[in-house]
Subunit: 71 residues, 6 copies
Amino acid sequence: MPTDFDTSLPSIRQVQNLIKNTTHVDLKLMTGDLLTGRIIWQDPNCVCILDEHSEQTTIWKHAIAYIKPKN
Amino acid sequence: MPTDFDTSLPSIRQVQNLIKNTTHVDLKLMTGDLLTGRIIWQDPNCVCILDEHSEQTTIWKHAIAYIKPKN
Amino acid sequence: MPTDFDTSLPSIRQVQNLIKNTTHVDLKLMTGDLLTGRIIWQDPNCVCILDEHSEQTTIWKHAIAYIKPKN
Amino acid sequence: MPTDFDTSLPSIRQVQNLIKNTTHVDLKLMTGDLLTGRIIWQDPNCVCILDEHSEQTTIWKHAIAYIKPKN
Amino acid sequence: MPTDFDTSLPSIRQVQNLIKNTTHVDLKLMTGDLLTGRIIWQDPNCVCILDEHSEQTTIWKHAIAYIKPKN
Amino acid sequence: MPTDFDTSLPSIRQVQNLIKNTTHVDLKLMTGDLLTGRIIWQDPNCVCILDEHSEQTTIWKHAIAYIKPKN
Protein backbone atom coordinates (compact mmCIF):
# COMPACT_ATOMS: atom_id res chain seq x y z
CA MET A 1 0.00 0.00 0.00
CA PRO A 2 1.39 3.43 -0.83
CA THR A 3 1.61 5.72 2.22
CA ASP A 4 -1.01 8.05 0.73
CA PHE A 5 -3.60 5.25 1.12
CA ASP A 6 -2.79 4.77 4.80
CA THR A 7 -6.24 4.14 6.30
CA SER A 8 -5.32 6.11 9.42
CA LEU A 9 -5.15 9.34 7.38
CA PRO A 10 -8.09 11.72 7.90
CA SER A 11 -8.77 11.99 4.13
CA ILE A 12 -8.98 8.19 3.71
CA ARG A 13 -11.03 7.73 6.89
CA GLN A 14 -13.43 10.52 5.88
CA VAL A 15 -14.21 8.75 2.60
CA GLN A 16 -14.62 5.44 4.50
CA ASN A 17 -17.15 7.18 6.77
CA LEU A 18 -19.01 8.65 3.78
CA ILE A 19 -19.28 5.09 2.40
CA LYS A 20 -20.41 3.59 5.73
CA ASN A 21 -23.00 6.34 6.34
CA THR A 22 -24.22 6.34 2.69
CA THR A 23 -23.84 10.13 2.74
CA HIS A 24 -24.79 11.98 -0.43
CA VAL A 25 -21.89 14.03 -1.78
CA ASP A 26 -21.08 16.59 -4.43
CA LEU A 27 -17.89 15.63 -6.20
CA LYS A 28 -16.23 18.38 -8.20
CA LEU A 29 -13.82 17.23 -10.89
CA MET A 30 -10.73 18.92 -12.35
CA THR A 31 -12.72 19.11 -15.63
CA GLY A 32 -15.28 21.34 -13.91
CA ASP A 33 -17.92 18.55 -13.88
CA LEU A 34 -19.97 18.20 -10.73
CA LEU A 35 -21.12 14.64 -9.96
CA THR A 36 -23.63 13.82 -7.26
CA GLY A 37 -24.35 10.54 -5.49
CA ARG A 38 -22.99 8.39 -2.71
CA ILE A 39 -19.55 6.79 -2.64
CA ILE A 40 -19.70 2.98 -2.65
CA TRP A 41 -15.96 2.15 -2.63
CA GLN A 42 -12.51 3.70 -2.81
CA ASP A 43 -9.07 2.30 -3.49
CA PRO A 44 -5.69 4.04 -3.97
CA ASN A 45 -6.59 4.98 -7.57
CA CYS A 46 -10.33 5.68 -7.64
CA VAL A 47 -13.63 6.33 -5.89
CA CYS A 48 -16.87 4.89 -7.26
CA ILE A 49 -20.16 6.74 -6.88
CA LEU A 50 -23.72 5.53 -7.29
CA ASP A 51 -26.11 8.19 -8.57
CA GLU A 52 -29.89 8.66 -8.24
CA HIS A 53 -30.42 6.53 -11.38
CA SER A 54 -28.50 3.64 -9.70
CA GLU A 55 -25.68 4.15 -12.20
CA GLN A 56 -22.07 3.75 -11.17
CA THR A 57 -19.24 6.07 -12.17
CA THR A 58 -15.62 5.26 -11.35
CA ILE A 59 -13.63 8.45 -10.83
CA TRP A 60 -9.82 8.65 -10.81
CA LYS A 61 -8.52 10.41 -7.67
CA HIS A 62 -6.20 12.61 -9.78
CA ALA A 63 -9.39 14.01 -11.37
CA ILE A 64 -11.02 15.01 -8.06
CA ALA A 65 -10.90 18.66 -7.01
CA TYR A 66 -13.07 18.31 -3.93
CA ILE A 67 -15.74 16.26 -2.15
CA LYS A 68 -18.51 18.06 -0.26
CA PRO A 69 -20.97 16.04 1.84
CA LYS A 70 -24.56 17.23 1.32
CA ASN A 71 -26.55 18.29 4.31
CA MET B 1 4.56 -3.76 -11.05
CA PRO B 2 3.80 -0.55 -9.21
CA THR B 3 1.39 -1.02 -6.30
CA ASP B 4 -1.27 1.07 -8.04
CA PHE B 5 -1.56 -1.67 -10.72
CA ASP B 6 -2.14 -4.37 -8.12
CA THR B 7 -4.76 -6.57 -9.81
CA SER B 8 -6.50 -7.17 -6.49
CA LEU B 9 -7.52 -3.50 -6.34
CA PRO B 10 -11.21 -2.81 -7.07
CA SER B 11 -10.38 -0.18 -9.73
CA ILE B 12 -8.09 -2.55 -11.64
CA ARG B 13 -10.48 -5.50 -11.30
CA GLN B 14 -13.43 -3.39 -12.45
CA VAL B 15 -11.64 -2.50 -15.69
CA GLN B 16 -10.68 -6.19 -16.12
CA ASN B 17 -14.38 -7.08 -15.77
CA LEU B 18 -15.40 -4.39 -18.28
CA ILE B 19 -12.90 -5.95 -20.73
CA LYS B 20 -14.07 -9.53 -20.07
CA ASN B 21 -17.76 -8.60 -20.39
CA THR B 22 -17.20 -6.33 -23.45
CA THR B 23 -19.24 -3.67 -21.65
CA HIS B 24 -19.78 -0.39 -23.48
CA VAL B 25 -18.47 2.56 -21.49
CA ASP B 26 -18.41 6.34 -21.52
CA LEU B 27 -14.93 7.56 -20.81
CA LYS B 28 -14.64 11.21 -19.79
CA LEU B 29 -11.22 12.77 -20.24
CA MET B 30 -9.51 15.61 -18.34
CA THR B 31 -9.74 17.58 -21.63
CA GLY B 32 -13.55 17.39 -21.44
CA ASP B 33 -13.72 14.91 -24.34
CA LEU B 34 -16.17 12.04 -23.97
CA LEU B 35 -15.12 8.80 -25.70
CA THR B 36 -17.43 5.83 -26.11
CA GLY B 37 -16.62 2.20 -26.83
CA ARG B 38 -15.49 -0.94 -25.07
CA ILE B 39 -12.16 -1.36 -23.32
CA ILE B 40 -9.96 -4.02 -24.94
CA TRP B 41 -6.86 -3.82 -22.71
CA GLN B 42 -5.32 -1.89 -19.83
CA ASP B 43 -1.80 -1.66 -18.45
CA PRO B 44 -0.30 0.59 -15.73
CA ASN B 45 -0.10 3.55 -18.17
CA CYS B 46 -3.11 3.27 -20.51
CA VAL B 47 -6.48 1.81 -21.43
CA CYS B 48 -7.33 1.08 -25.05
CA ILE B 49 -10.90 1.41 -26.33
CA LEU B 50 -12.50 0.12 -29.52
CA ASP B 51 -15.27 2.32 -30.87
CA GLU B 52 -18.31 1.63 -33.06
CA HIS B 53 -16.17 2.20 -36.20
CA SER B 54 -13.76 -0.54 -35.02
CA GLU B 55 -11.13 2.13 -34.40
CA GLN B 56 -8.77 1.90 -31.45
CA THR B 57 -7.79 4.79 -29.20
CA THR B 58 -5.10 4.42 -26.54
CA ILE B 59 -5.83 6.70 -23.59
CA TRP B 60 -3.31 7.63 -20.91
CA LYS B 61 -4.67 6.96 -17.40
CA HIS B 62 -3.55 10.43 -16.20
CA ALA B 63 -6.01 11.81 -18.80
CA ILE B 64 -9.03 9.87 -17.50
CA ALA B 65 -11.55 11.70 -15.31
CA TYR B 66 -14.06 8.85 -15.06
CA ILE B 67 -15.37 5.67 -16.62
CA LYS B 68 -19.11 5.02 -16.63
CA PRO B 69 -20.45 1.64 -17.85
CA LYS B 70 -23.47 2.07 -20.15
CA ASN B 71 -26.67 0.29 -19.27
CA MET C 1 5.11 9.74 5.88
CA PRO C 2 6.26 10.95 2.48
CA THR C 3 9.00 13.60 2.70
CA ASP C 4 6.66 16.21 1.20
CA PHE C 5 4.53 16.00 4.39
CA ASP C 6 7.51 16.65 6.63
CA THR C 7 6.00 18.90 9.33
CA SER C 8 9.20 20.96 9.51
CA LEU C 9 8.60 22.25 5.97
CA PRO C 10 7.40 25.89 5.78
CA SER C 11 4.40 24.98 3.58
CA ILE C 12 3.16 22.32 6.02
CA ARG C 13 3.80 24.51 9.05
CA GLN C 14 2.03 27.47 7.46
CA VAL C 15 -1.15 25.40 6.98
CA GLN C 16 -0.81 24.12 10.58
CA ASN C 17 -0.67 27.76 11.74
CA LEU C 18 -3.69 28.70 9.63
CA ILE C 19 -5.58 25.85 11.34
CA LYS C 20 -4.41 26.82 14.84
CA ASN C 21 -5.22 30.53 14.33
CA THR C 22 -8.56 29.79 12.58
CA THR C 23 -7.47 32.21 9.84
CA HIS C 24 -9.92 32.78 6.97
CA VAL C 25 -8.37 31.91 3.63
CA ASP C 26 -9.07 32.14 -0.07
CA LEU C 27 -8.27 28.85 -1.72
CA LYS C 28 -7.89 28.95 -5.49
CA LEU C 29 -8.29 25.61 -7.27
CA MET C 30 -6.77 24.34 -10.53
CA THR C 31 -10.37 24.36 -11.87
CA GLY C 32 -10.51 28.14 -11.38
CA ASP C 33 -12.92 27.80 -8.41
CA LEU C 34 -12.27 30.06 -5.45
CA LEU C 35 -13.30 28.60 -2.09
CA THR C 36 -13.38 30.62 1.11
CA GLY C 37 -13.36 29.49 4.73
CA ARG C 38 -10.97 28.31 7.39
CA ILE C 39 -8.86 25.18 7.19
CA ILE C 40 -9.77 22.62 9.88
CA TRP C 41 -7.34 19.80 9.02
CA GLN C 42 -4.70 18.73 6.49
CA ASP C 43 -3.08 15.40 5.72
CA PRO C 44 -0.67 14.40 2.92
CA ASN C 45 -3.56 14.14 0.42
CA CYS C 46 -6.08 16.84 1.34
CA VAL C 47 -7.05 19.97 3.25
CA CYS C 48 -10.55 20.38 4.66
CA ILE C 49 -12.20 23.80 4.90
CA LEU C 50 -15.22 24.93 6.85
CA ASP C 51 -17.19 27.70 5.16
CA GLU C 52 -19.50 30.42 6.49
CA HIS C 53 -22.48 28.01 6.27
CA SER C 54 -20.60 25.54 8.54
CA GLU C 55 -20.23 23.19 5.58
CA GLN C 56 -17.08 21.16 5.08
CA THR C 57 -15.31 20.65 1.77
CA THR C 58 -12.39 18.25 1.43
CA ILE C 59 -9.97 19.46 -1.24
CA TRP C 60 -7.25 17.33 -2.83
CA LYS C 61 -3.84 19.02 -2.64
CA HIS C 62 -3.20 18.29 -6.35
CA ALA C 63 -6.21 20.55 -7.04
CA ILE C 64 -4.88 23.54 -5.09
CA ALA C 65 -3.29 26.41 -7.02
CA TYR C 66 -2.78 28.72 -4.04
CA ILE C 67 -3.86 29.60 -0.52
CA LYS C 68 -4.12 33.27 0.46
CA PRO C 69 -4.83 34.20 4.09
CA LYS C 70 -7.44 36.97 4.33
CA ASN C 71 -6.56 40.13 6.20
CA MET D 1 14.31 2.39 -16.18
CA PRO D 2 11.12 3.15 -14.29
CA THR D 3 8.63 0.27 -14.31
CA ASP D 4 6.18 2.31 -16.37
CA PHE D 5 8.63 2.20 -19.30
CA ASP D 6 8.86 -1.59 -19.19
CA THR D 7 9.01 -2.49 -22.89
CA SER D 8 6.87 -5.57 -22.30
CA LEU D 9 3.87 -3.36 -21.44
CA PRO D 10 1.18 -3.16 -24.15
CA SER D 11 1.21 0.66 -24.15
CA ILE D 12 4.98 0.83 -24.69
CA ARG D 13 4.96 -1.96 -27.29
CA GLN D 14 2.07 -0.32 -29.17
CA VAL D 15 4.04 2.91 -29.57
CA GLN D 16 7.09 0.86 -30.64
CA ASN D 17 4.92 -0.78 -33.32
CA LEU D 18 3.56 2.59 -34.48
CA ILE D 19 7.19 3.73 -34.89
CA LYS D 20 8.27 0.54 -36.73
CA ASN D 21 5.25 0.62 -39.06
CA THR D 22 5.47 4.42 -39.64
CA THR D 23 1.75 4.60 -38.86
CA HIS D 24 0.12 8.02 -39.05
CA VAL D 25 -1.52 8.97 -35.77
CA ASP D 26 -3.74 11.62 -34.24
CA LEU D 27 -2.33 12.71 -30.93
CA LYS D 28 -4.71 14.59 -28.64
CA LEU D 29 -3.09 16.71 -25.95
CA MET D 30 -4.35 17.73 -22.50
CA THR D 31 -4.41 21.31 -23.89
CA GLY D 32 -7.03 20.26 -26.45
CA ASP D 33 -4.51 20.49 -29.34
CA LEU D 34 -4.65 17.72 -31.93
CA LEU D 35 -1.30 16.89 -33.55
CA THR D 36 -0.97 14.63 -36.57
CA GLY D 37 2.06 12.78 -37.91
CA ARG D 38 4.05 9.63 -37.30
CA ILE D 39 5.95 8.85 -34.13
CA ILE D 40 9.71 8.60 -34.66
CA TRP D 41 10.90 7.87 -31.11
CA GLN D 42 9.69 7.54 -27.53
CA ASP D 43 11.47 7.49 -24.19
CA PRO D 44 10.10 7.50 -20.61
CA ASN D 45 9.41 11.27 -20.79
CA CYS D 46 8.39 12.05 -24.37
CA VAL D 47 7.28 10.95 -27.82
CA CYS D 48 8.53 12.77 -30.91
CA ILE D 49 6.35 13.11 -34.00
CA LEU D 50 7.25 14.07 -37.57
CA ASP D 51 4.50 15.93 -39.40
CA GLU D 52 3.66 16.33 -43.10
CA HIS D 53 6.02 19.34 -43.32
CA SER D 54 8.89 17.13 -42.04
CA GLU D 55 8.89 19.13 -38.80
CA GLN D 56 9.53 17.43 -35.47
CA THR D 57 7.59 18.09 -32.28
CA THR D 58 8.64 16.58 -28.95
CA ILE D 59 5.62 15.96 -26.76
CA TRP D 60 5.78 15.29 -23.02
CA LYS D 61 3.87 12.11 -22.07
CA HIS D 62 2.11 13.93 -19.19
CA ALA D 63 0.56 16.15 -21.91
CA ILE D 64 -0.89 13.27 -23.96
CA ALA D 65 -4.59 12.48 -23.60
CA TYR D 66 -4.74 9.81 -26.30
CA ILE D 67 -3.11 8.41 -29.43
CA LYS D 68 -5.33 7.18 -32.26
CA PRO D 69 -3.75 5.39 -35.27
CA LYS D 70 -5.23 6.65 -38.55
CA ASN D 71 -6.76 4.15 -40.92
CA MET E 1 14.83 15.80 0.83
CA PRO E 2 13.57 14.56 -2.52
CA THR E 3 16.17 14.83 -5.30
CA ASP E 4 14.06 17.44 -7.09
CA PHE E 5 14.71 19.83 -4.19
CA ASP E 6 18.48 19.42 -4.42
CA THR E 7 19.74 22.95 -3.74
CA SER E 8 22.54 22.52 -6.29
CA LEU E 9 19.97 22.37 -9.11
CA PRO E 10 19.77 25.53 -11.27
CA SER E 11 15.98 25.81 -10.83
CA ILE E 12 16.22 25.70 -7.02
CA ARG E 13 19.21 28.03 -6.92
CA GLN E 14 17.50 30.50 -9.25
CA VAL E 15 14.53 30.79 -6.89
CA GLN E 16 16.94 31.16 -3.95
CA ASN E 17 18.61 34.06 -5.81
CA LEU E 18 15.25 35.67 -6.58
CA ILE E 19 14.49 35.52 -2.84
CA LYS E 20 17.91 36.89 -1.82
CA ASN E 21 17.77 39.73 -4.38
CA THR E 22 14.08 40.54 -3.64
CA THR E 23 13.49 40.46 -7.40
CA HIS E 24 9.96 41.18 -8.59
CA VAL E 25 8.56 38.30 -10.64
CA ASP E 26 5.59 37.41 -12.78
CA LEU E 27 4.32 34.00 -11.84
CA LYS E 28 2.02 32.31 -14.35
CA LEU E 29 -0.18 29.54 -12.98
CA MET E 30 -1.61 26.45 -14.68
CA THR E 31 -5.04 28.07 -14.12
CA GLY E 32 -4.00 30.98 -16.36
CA ASP E 33 -3.74 33.38 -13.40
CA LEU E 34 -0.77 35.75 -13.40
CA LEU E 35 0.51 36.69 -9.93
CA THR E 36 3.07 39.43 -9.36
CA GLY E 37 5.31 40.08 -6.36
CA ARG E 38 8.55 38.89 -4.84
CA ILE E 39 9.22 35.37 -3.62
CA ILE E 40 9.87 35.22 0.13
CA TRP E 41 10.40 31.47 0.62
CA GLN E 42 10.29 28.15 -1.21
CA ASP E 43 10.20 24.55 -0.02
CA PRO E 44 9.74 21.29 -1.97
CA ASN E 45 5.96 21.85 -2.20
CA CYS E 46 5.40 25.60 -2.53
CA VAL E 47 6.70 29.11 -3.15
CA CYS E 48 5.30 32.06 -1.21
CA ILE E 49 5.03 35.50 -2.79
CA LEU E 50 4.50 38.90 -1.20
CA ASP E 51 2.56 41.33 -3.39
CA GLU E 52 2.42 45.13 -3.56
CA HIS E 53 -0.32 45.15 -0.88
CA SER E 54 2.02 43.23 1.50
CA GLU E 55 -0.25 40.20 1.16
CA GLN E 56 1.18 36.70 1.04
CA THR E 57 0.06 33.96 -1.31
CA THR E 58 1.35 30.40 -1.00
CA ILE E 59 1.47 28.71 -4.40
CA TRP E 60 1.82 24.98 -4.94
CA LYS E 61 4.70 24.16 -7.31
CA HIS E 62 2.46 21.80 -9.34
CA ALA E 63 0.36 24.88 -10.16
CA ILE E 64 3.27 26.94 -11.54
CA ALA E 65 3.66 27.19 -15.32
CA TYR E 66 6.54 29.66 -15.29
CA ILE E 67 8.38 32.35 -13.32
CA LYS E 68 9.64 35.42 -15.14
CA PRO E 69 11.83 37.95 -13.31
CA LYS E 70 10.75 41.53 -14.07
CA ASN E 71 13.31 43.93 -15.46
CA MET F 1 19.38 12.12 -10.21
CA PRO F 2 15.98 10.66 -10.93
CA THR F 3 15.97 8.15 -13.80
CA ASP F 4 13.81 10.50 -15.90
CA PHE F 5 16.76 12.94 -16.03
CA ASP F 6 19.16 10.28 -17.34
CA THR F 7 21.25 12.24 -19.86
CA SER F 8 21.38 9.25 -22.19
CA LEU F 9 17.62 9.57 -22.82
CA PRO F 10 16.67 11.00 -26.23
CA SER F 11 14.39 13.66 -24.69
CA ILE F 12 17.13 14.95 -22.37
CA ARG F 13 19.80 14.80 -25.10
CA GLN F 14 17.53 16.61 -27.56
CA VAL F 15 17.13 19.55 -25.17
CA GLN F 16 20.91 19.53 -24.56
CA ASN F 17 21.41 19.78 -28.34
CA LEU F 18 18.88 22.62 -28.62
CA ILE F 19 20.90 24.46 -25.94
CA LYS F 20 24.28 23.76 -27.60
CA ASN F 21 23.02 24.78 -31.07
CA THR F 22 21.11 27.85 -29.74
CA THR F 23 18.11 26.65 -31.74
CA HIS F 24 14.98 28.80 -31.59
CA VAL F 25 11.99 26.84 -30.32
CA ASP F 26 8.27 27.15 -29.86
CA LEU F 27 7.31 25.93 -26.43
CA LYS F 28 3.62 25.14 -25.91
CA LEU F 29 2.43 25.09 -22.32
CA MET F 30 -0.39 23.15 -20.66
CA THR F 31 -2.06 26.56 -20.12
CA GLY F 32 -2.25 27.04 -23.89
CA ASP F 33 0.48 29.74 -23.85
CA LEU F 34 3.07 29.58 -26.63
CA LEU F 35 6.52 30.85 -25.67
CA THR F 36 9.29 31.43 -28.19
CA GLY F 37 13.04 31.72 -27.69
CA ARG F 38 16.09 29.56 -27.19
CA ILE F 39 16.65 27.21 -24.27
CA ILE F 40 19.63 28.21 -22.13
CA TRP F 41 19.52 25.51 -19.44
CA GLN F 42 17.49 22.54 -18.22
CA ASP F 43 17.46 20.58 -14.99
CA PRO F 44 15.13 17.83 -13.73
CA ASN F 45 12.44 20.41 -12.80
CA CYS F 46 12.63 23.20 -15.37
CA VAL F 47 13.86 24.60 -18.68
CA CYS F 48 14.84 28.25 -18.99
CA ILE F 49 14.31 30.16 -22.22
CA LEU F 50 15.74 33.46 -23.39
CA ASP F 51 13.41 35.45 -25.65
CA GLU F 52 14.01 38.09 -28.33
CA HIS F 53 13.92 40.82 -25.65
CA SER F 54 16.77 39.03 -23.78
CA GLU F 55 14.31 38.16 -21.02
CA GLN F 56 14.49 34.83 -19.22
CA THR F 57 11.50 32.68 -18.34
CA THR F 58 11.86 29.56 -16.19
CA ILE F 59 9.27 26.97 -17.15
CA TRP F 60 8.34 23.96 -15.03
CA LYS F 61 8.55 20.70 -17.02
CA HIS F 62 5.11 19.60 -15.76
CA ALA F 63 3.75 22.68 -17.59
CA ILE F 64 5.27 21.80 -20.98
CA ALA F 65 3.02 20.23 -23.60
CA TYR F 66 5.57 20.22 -26.41
CA ILE F 67 8.78 21.74 -27.78
CA LYS F 68 9.06 22.38 -31.51
CA PRO F 69 12.39 23.55 -32.98
CA LYS F 70 11.87 26.37 -35.49
CA ASN F 71 13.21 25.94 -39.00
